[in-house]
Subunit: 335 residues, 4 copies
Amino acid sequence: MTRIAILGATGYTSLELIKVLLRHPQAEIVAITSRQEGNPHVAMVHPSLTNRLDLALENLAPAEVAARAECVFSCLPHATSAAIVPHLLDGGCRVVDFSADYRLDDVETFERWYGEKHPDPSRLGKVVYGLPELFRDRIPAATLVANPGCYPTSAILPLAPLLKAKLIDPHDIILDSKSGVSGAGRTAKLITHYPECNESLSAYNVGRHRHTPEIEQILGRACGETVDVIFTPHLVPMDRGILTTAYLRPLHDITEEKVLETLREFYDQEPFVRVVDHLPATKDSTDTNFCDITARVVRGRILTISCLDNLIKGASGAAVQNFNLMYGFPETTAL
Amino acid sequence: MTRIAILGATGYTSLELIKVLLRHPQAEIVAITSRQEGNPHVAMVHPSLTNRLDLALENLAPAEVAARAECVFSCLPHATSAAIVPHLLDGGCRVVDFSADYRLDDVETFERWYGEKHPDPSRLGKVVYGLPELFRDRIPAATLVANPGCYPTSAILPLAPLLKAKLIDPHDIILDSKSGVSGAGRTAKLITHYPECNESLSAYNVGRHRHTPEIEQILGRACGETVDVIFTPHLVPMDRGILTTAYLRPLHDITEEKVLETLREFYDQEPFVRVVDHLPATKDSTDTNFCDITARVVRGRILTISCLDNLIKGASGAAVQNFNLMYGFPETTAL
Amino acid sequence: MTRIAILGATGYTSLELIKVLLRHPQAEIVAITSRQEGNPHVAMVHPSLTNRLDLALENLAPAEVAARAECVFSCLPHATSAAIVPHLLDGGCRVVDFSADYRLDDVETFERWYGEKHPDPSRLGKVVYGLPELFRDRIPAATLVANPGCYPTSAILPLAPLLKAKLIDPHDIILDSKSGVSGAGRTAKLITHYPECNESLSAYNVGRHRHTPEIEQILGRACGETVDVIFTPHLVPMDRGILTTAYLRPLHDITEEKVLETLREFYDQEPFVRVVDHLPATKDSTDTNFCDITARVVRGRILTISCLDNLIKGASGAAVQNFNLMYGFPETTAL
Amino acid sequence: MTRIAILGATGYTSLELIKVLLRHPQAEIVAITSRQEGNPHVAMVHPSLTNRLDLALENLAPAEVAARAECVFSCLPHATSAAIVPHLLDGGCRVVDFSADYRLDDVETFERWYGEKHPDPSRLGKVVYGLPELFRDRIPAATLVANPGCYPTSAILPLAPLLKAKLIDPHDIILDSKSGVSGAGRTAKLITHYPECNESLSAYNVGRHRHTPEIEQILGRACGETVDVIFTPHLVPMDRGILTTAYLRPLHDITEEKVLETLREFYDQEPFVRVVDHLPATKDSTDTNFCDITARVVRGRILTISCLDNLIKGASGAAVQNFNLMYGFPETTAL
């Protein structure tokens, strides 16, 4: 049994992570933390966990976490996580970090997009990006894994094979993404107040969403060229799910069949990517670790449509997939 | 044109009130207030009003309001409203108060259920309860009208005729109510955070919702006896609408036809109560000032089912109905 | 491995059943049936099962099913299921029947409420009702189990302990139930067309829902007396979940604590009933096999509030719980 | 009073049309038709109209309609409407046609995209397209107006001014549209069955939605050049609202301010187009005849975002706007 701690355990990704880990035969959750006072029982914060996990949320110092746990999932906010992670690594823990802190290679890019000073800049550029479909080889030996963002996963998985195969122009990429509301987190705000966002649809952070440089960096790494994307996120009145519609310019004449075949070959052995002929709905992958992808050619452009559950393949499922690879368990365990 | 001010104009009832009044040929909104700093334009707070109302939200003293407006709709919270209303009345305004402050006759009842000292206790018991279907005669001459609560309207309209006709036991009344989320107001809270209440249903404030004494008082007044109710509100994942299922004990053998006939006769001339044979859905009355009512007799009990839009017939539509009566306009104007 | 067939595999309960069984280490799905022509692959009908189950839907005769499978889950409609089940039993299969066909003891009651002739009347009254919390002892030896209805489970679990303990009047029971839309099945109808039922709430089948006699029979068996209920179902705009608010008359003065204690003692050893102090939301038990129950005493009445996922504890989860007991697997396997 | 008939009055656009017309001081609905047997009262089909409109749905021949009504709103399906309309015109009626039958200039384009023979081909190319913002001059004299499609209105209004001003490339236009479910009509189908589309998002008819040639034709007419669009519609779990995100290639360097200014000048006098600085949500225009538009420049591309209520500005509100222009009433009457 691997002893696990979860930092920042009051949010939606933590809740899903706990649910996945409770099904895992090799994982034992030994600590969950939050800054809430009074060490509330986890069932006070997540009533769905009543009788399923008997732990209190504690406000633990990194050393206390490291004394109890071998593997730490950090669900702390950006700029907070990287202030803690070095202490956990020093304490001998392996860490899967859900924040954006270790995803970007470059400290200036981080500070420009996130507007905060990076607490651990020297590690940037050396941390494996935990998308097994692209970087599986590097994960087993990693002590620290940067768990991908939800939008980036939905954008990178369909595009990376096409960029690698030099089928599309890396400088003319439009990503129109639509996400359920859980992606906005669990903090009550007016924009996610039920009567505000229910029965409504809107774009947000147009041209300045922080997942933009993450998508560009990873796609650039995949194809060995710089990549530019226009990324537009939209808020959809549903709990979960991301659908990304990508509009791509082919470099040569190409058929729909060839695009689908390229995707299919690339993901042939992947347990969690389903290249499908039909147009996928987000509900097909809700509560699963799958990413569903299809493609169409429309009037000379390639369109890809990709769906995933932002809390599972877009966060906690991917984290457990990484955990499985780090510890040598079958990659699909508990997923 | 009647000059109108709306106090506390940032919430959902105010927004609906403004929309109704914009259709009213005899009403001119001359002031809207809030404590927000910087006098934001109403369209900053309610984007749907862009190009429809050109006013800023101002933080006005009661005297300033009274200097501008003849009629004031107060959408202030309880215990706040009654601290302001006396000054408005002194300033010559007529007032429709949306808060609970003037609905109860008895200061002790108010202070027990609301947990606050009443700022204007001497007026309690003298203010007309603005439910025209029961108290129309008293409204035209009123300077102050207590606008009914949303749940009370949904409960009083089906029950008052049956109690008046001595058809049901006033001490064995069960009210199982279900409300959309806008009833909880516009302040962001965890319980009304989208991913918390979406795709979920729960009861709340069981046995201690503040509308209980209001329902009992008005029904008691209707039938001349004390009335006891068990009132259980539930939160439903939808924006608007209340459905109240009432379980009543008949005092004598009675048929469904007789119950429906009693309701139909009582509301025969009412423009906004529809006694129907079918089982109404809340959507039938969404965005309208109607209350739909039907009845069934099941295994010796009478059931009534009533639906209304909590923001219209349950709040702002009722307020304009009262306004029309106060100023001698046709009662259905703008509704 | 137990070889399993699922009859009528196109609906929502079948889909959830398949998902649960795919997690079950001792179950192998060997046949799924429907009357759809052309033997479509299951992923054509349930896209979420793409790459998860590689079977076609076949139109199989009972003998063909019995030749392949040891255990059959019948998700066929009432009056259809009991025409097939005898052949499966004759063929040596054990059967969990999701329909209402074997739940009632009495053929006249069945035919009055369901309006159809019963195809297998001689078995009525001899089939175990598959609610392990009440009838666990009889399940391991059963060849045929009648899987409970979703509303009945939500009503029986909170009430049975109180009736057994003679705490409440069996003739004054009001059940106000609210269900998500998946309970209405997967056949497209106007009433469940998205723009009809979304953002709307309504009661349906008031006084004549077919689960009424099932609730009364099982509660009557639990307490050894006849039981009468008024049962009112409501349709709520959400996918899943049932919440039942029960209004009960205590036979003696009683405290909330005593009611909760009675429930807690009764379910102390049960893996899937959570007696909680807080007011449960349906979302707490979504996607789980739990039934959450609490109680309140309000103005001399006992209220119980119970929540469950209509497709899991109200159907497919309960069925796998029964399957586990029938085959000697740990009761919580895959749940 | 203008006597009005509505053909095909069972759907959602008809319901909204009736609600708008009930507020219109110069309109009297004298006939509503459907092929439903038995002449049901409108309140049987649209319960929300109980006590608001006292008419039965009749199966009337065109001559009967023409005998009663001056103006006819045809909400019949495509290829059905154009088989009726000529008879109405011959009978002296003026017609607003909601179908696609008279929107396209070219019979071959119609027959290729709609897959049906056009019943009245000789009129194609001579019917005014009822988008007052572009073709107001031609509407007052029209006897037949082709009411625009919902997606086309959401796409044409933001793009026409930019194309006319030669700011964008007419051959590189991507339209990513998202619509609520009412756009799919009122016929119950699996794809719009509540548990299928609730909590889910999907693209549909990618590259082959029938509104594509309509958008291209009208935009082409606006700018005097051929226009090519890639149009991708998505189904969003909400009742109403369309949001279209357009990705456009500027022909010259341009600032966001200049794009907004171009839009603002173009729509300066328009009562129903609101050019806004903020990112509009569909809810801002729900239940109104407004179209909200904004623009952004992102990495060298122009993005426009436009929102409207598909049943009002996208259908019935636009129809009444046309009606007002045809009969010389103030254009905003009842809207």
